[in-house]
């Protein structure tokens, strides 16, 4: 109730910050419990993630994937649907990119590269089409179907990578390397074109794609007729029917866009870093996207910031695990879990109290 009347800077700024602070406090407690100094641990994390070109490169590389999957969840969210199949759609995005790269290696790169990127988006979208159709026209719940499609995607990929698409003579479940024209340049290579020298990290051109995708989603949702229809369906399907907007049609369209964005995550890992299709390359990015979208409140700007936070957690966490043997990789997952818990699942826990405090401090009485 009262949170509705509070200003935007409070609900979108202060509240998430408080949530993150509480998450870090809880995580700090755990760190202290196992006998490490939480302040020192936080220092190592932040320095490891942001303190060097190397660390920052890795942080932004993780961020890239999370922006794509976060945007994917957000677009579906605006249409009132919970697409938790980002993981599977991203895997299929990788497959789509690989199929284009491996079947059309003779094309010149200005043609091949865009096709590979489109292949990733198209395959991600295609993978969500059946769940979307079933949700829109048959009422099968999208959460159930997209979870199942995650498993299907993972198994399909394993089958392809140990069978039809495996590189001849290789023992590893992976395809042959793509031709150079099908891979995205790394950031340090691009910097070199402008005469700049930066440390080599996996950060690549797809980071720019991610930022462009965020802008695209913002324009789509808030500045187009389609975005208006998507938000109407998400906020009030009855009003959409009244207005002559078909909720079923909009559901399918929004989920196709969502799947496409999830598929684009593969541009970072497959086209940007690996240059071949490997197994399990998403490493949970599809699920992190849910937390990112929740924390970013479905707004592309918030999603970029939330993705950055998770990028810091991933990269800083890896550094921390390396520096402090007592803090294992699993501990890092615990800390990430706290952030997801407080910033995602419990995002509204403090919202009312903060709004009430604000009302008391300013003495403003806003009518509901």
């Amino acid at each position: 109730m009262s949170a509705r009347t509070a200003p935007v800077w409070l609900t979108a700024g202060v509240v998430p910050l408080v949530n993150v602070a509480v998450a870090f406090l809880a995580a700090g407690l755990v760190v202290a419990l196992i006998g490490e100094n939480p302040i020192e641990a936080l220092g190592i994390m932040l320095r490891g993630a942001l303190g060097s070109q190397y660390g920052l490169g890795y942080t932004l590389y993780y961020t890239t994937s999370f922006i794509f999957t976060g945007l994917a969840v957000a677009v579906a969210f605006h249409a009132g649907h919970f697409n938790i199949g980002g993981e599977g759609q991203a895997l299929m995005g990788g497959l789509g990119a690989a199929l284009v790269a491996l079947s059309l290696p003779f094309l010149p790169w200005p043609l091949l590269l865009p096709l590979c990127v489109l292949g990733a988006a198209a395959a991600g979208a295609a993978w969500v089409f059946i769940p979307a159709y079933l949700q829109a026209y048959r009422g099968s719940h999208i959460v159930i179907t997209t979870i199942m499609f995650n498993f299907l995607a993972a198994t399909l990929l394993v089958y392809l990578l140990v069978g039809p698409m495996k590189m001849a003579g290789s023992m590893a479940p992976e395809t042959a390397r793509f031709v150079p024209g099908a891979t995205l340049p790394l950031m340090n290579q691009m910097a070199a074109w402008f005469g700049l020298t930066i440390t080599r990290t996996p950060l690549n051109l797809s980071f720019i794609f991610a930022i462009l995708a965020a802008i695209f989603v913002w324009v789509l949702i808030w500045r187009t007729r389609l975005g208006y229809a998507i938000r109407t369906v998400g906020a009030n399907p009855d009003a959409a029917v009244y207005a002559g907007i078909s909720p079923a049609r909009i559901t399918v369209i929004a989920l196709l866009i969502s799947g496409g964005l999830a598929g684009l995550m593969a541009t970072n890992e497959i086209l940007g870093v690996q240059g071949r299709l490997i197994n399990e390359f998403t490493a949970g990015a599809g699920f992190v996207g849910i937390a990112v979208a929740l924390m970013g409140r479905g707004h592309p700007f918030g999603i970029v910031l939330a993705a950055l936070l998770f990028g810091v957690l991933y990269q800083g966490g890896a550094e921390l695990a390396f520096d402090k043997p007592k803090i294992t990789r699993e501990m890092i997952i615990v800390i990430q879990g706290f952030v997801i818990l407080f910033a995602g699942a419990l995002e509204m826990m403090f919202a009312d109290r903060i709004a009430a405090l604000y009302a008391r401090l300013t003495g403003k009485v806003v009518a509901a």
Partner: protein
């Protein structure tokens, strides 16, 4: 003089930043029917919820029969002898009357003893107050008026001496209202205390001894009903003089705009909701549909508006046969000059989390004036909303404010502005003033009549009989999905309408099989 049944003193309640009850005091004497009126958001429901233990007041005290009482839960309230009959009945549809009444008083692991005790009490009460309700009837088979009696009995069986009724007449026919009022007077005569929460001034005048009026979270006065008039009460509620009657000249009907023939609608389960309904609406006239809610009016509006596909029949607009719900979806119909103000603005007419400008765009988002190609021009959307807000005196006139934050009346004005400003040939309008404050009702009625005088056809559906009679040039009465009669407002009276609404009398000339 005995202690008052209820004495609430200095009740204060805030929800976050909203001051719902500001030092409210109210005294209700024993054995009286006491009215509580006020506009939406005036704080009536909050006050009653505090009395019944749903909310806990931030400050203030309650005394029941002179004894200070701490009411923290509904169980405390029941223990103090307070019973509540909600606007939406809280009954288990598949249970019998006895089973419903014994809920919460089953009397142990086996229900037989509890059931016979409840049955005995029910019989005694039914006898004492002349309420004939079959204790073994399944609730889903009872009529609305009977459901309400079950709710009242439920409270009485639990030992209620004080009954709170929240908008008790909203779903009743005039005859049932009459019956209810007789019952309430009788209960009061036996020493029970009744509080009735309503916004209908006529009913307050008819049944209460005293009336308390709330406005913006404050108690603005308690008056003896016999010393007051509807106009006085309305002034207390709104804070200024309001015109309660609708002034309109005679209609000047022109050619037929809407022609409905044998329209039949089935719901998802195949039940007939609208049964061969035929009528016409001409340019320059308001045709009203009267009836108790749930008798096919909603289906009628939705079928004509293209939201629901009819099972049979024909609808023509200006002589052109429509394929409602098929090719003629709401978008296509809007292009043909059919505009629709839906019955339930919260469910259909608005998107509450949207800012006002976006709610004012609902159904118009594809119009070329609001942008080019796939893009929406935000400035154009905002400017259009500002124009509509000015034309309809929406307050606050802020197109960026979230729709949910406007009062009911202002939300309704946004919907009306959106539909009327597009120069419709035919306006379908459902429940134009439901949940709308008195000040805005006046304005909305004037607008509808102005539309008629401009030569437009208006089809009005309202469950407020007075409203239908005041606005319409012709009134059709619906019951059970059929039109049971047509009247001119000047040639009918409440009793006549009541019989048609209940389906007791019907002058439907022929029902096509």
């Amino acid at each position: 003089m005995p202690a008052p049944a209820i004495q609430m003193t200095g009740i204060d309640k805030r929800f976050g930043a909203v001051h719902a009850n500001n030092a409210v005091s109210m005294t209700v004497e024993k054995g009286t029917v006491h009215g509580l009126i006020g506009e939406n958001g005036a704080g009536k429901s909050t006050l009653m919820s505090i009395l019944y233990g749903f909310y806990h007041a931030d400050a203030g005290s309650i005394a029941i029969n002179g004894k200070p009482s701490l009411i923290r839960t509904p169980a405390d309230a029941i223990h103090s002898g307070i019973g509540m009959v909600h606007q939406h009945f809280m009954l288990v549809e598949t249970f019998t009357v006895v089973e419903n009444v014994m809920l919460g008083a089953e009397g142990g692991a086996f229900t037989a003893r509890g059931a016979s005790a409840v049955r005995a009490k029910l019989q005694a009460l039914s006898y004492a107050y002349g309420m004939d309700v079959n204790p073994d009837a399944v609730v889903s088979e009872l009529a609305v008026g009977e459901l309400q009696r079950v709710e009242i009995l439920k409270a009485l069986v639990k030992g209620a001496d004080i009954l709170i009724l929240d908008e008790p007449t909203a779903v009743l026919t005039p005859t049932e209202v009459e019956k209810l009022f007789v019952l309430l007077r009788r209960l009061a005569g036996e020493g029970k205390t009744i509080i009735i929460v309503t916004h209908k001034l006529k009913e307050i005048m008819a049944v209460t001894d005293r009336v308390s009026v709330m406005r913006r979270g404050e108690m603005v006065g308690t008056v003896e009903t016999s010393n007051s008039s509807p106009a006085d009460l309305a002034e207390l509620m709104v804070g200024r003089r309001v015109v309660l009657t609708v002034e309109k000249g005679p209609a000047n009907p022109q050619g037929v705009v809407l022609d409905v023939k044998d329209l039949t609608v089935r719901d998802a389960r195949g039940t007939v909701r609208l049964d061969h309904v035929s009528f016409q609406v001409r340019a320059g006239e308001i045709v009203g549909i009267a009836g108790v809610s749930g008798n096919g009016q909603s289906e009628l509006l939705e079928a004509i508006a293209g939201i629901r596909k009819p099972a049979g029949g024909a609808v023509s607009l200006n002589g052109e046969l429509l394929d409602c719900g098929g090719r003629d979806d709401p978008t296509a119909l809007r292009a043909k000059g059919l505009r629709h103000v839906p019955e339930d603005r919260h469910r259909m007419g608005l998107v509450k989390p949207f800012e006002a400008a976006e709610s004012a765009l609902l159904g118009c988002s594809d119009e070329p004036g609001f942008g080019s190609g796939p893009f929406l021009d935000r400035d154009a959307v905002l400017a259009d909303c500002v124009r509509k807000m000015e034309a309809f005196d929406v307050r606050p006139a802020d197109p960026r404010l979230r729709t949910a934050l406007f009062s009911g009346g202002n939300q309704q004005k946004i919907v009306l502005a959106r539909e009327i400003e597009r120069d419709p040939k035919l306006l379908l309008i459902g429940q134009p003033t439901r949940g709308v404050d008195i000040g805005a009702i006046e304005f909305i009625h004037k607008r509808i009549i102005a539309l008629r005088d401009a030569g437009k056809a208006v089809l009005l559906v309202s469950t407020e009989l007075d409203e239908v009679l005041a606005l319409s040039d012709r009134v059709l009465v619906m019951c059970g999905g059929r039109i049971t009669g047509e009247r001119r407002p000047e040639d009918t009276n409440e009793q006549d309408m009541g019989l048609l609404m209940a389906g007791v009398s019907s002058d439907a000339p022929k029902v096509a099989a």
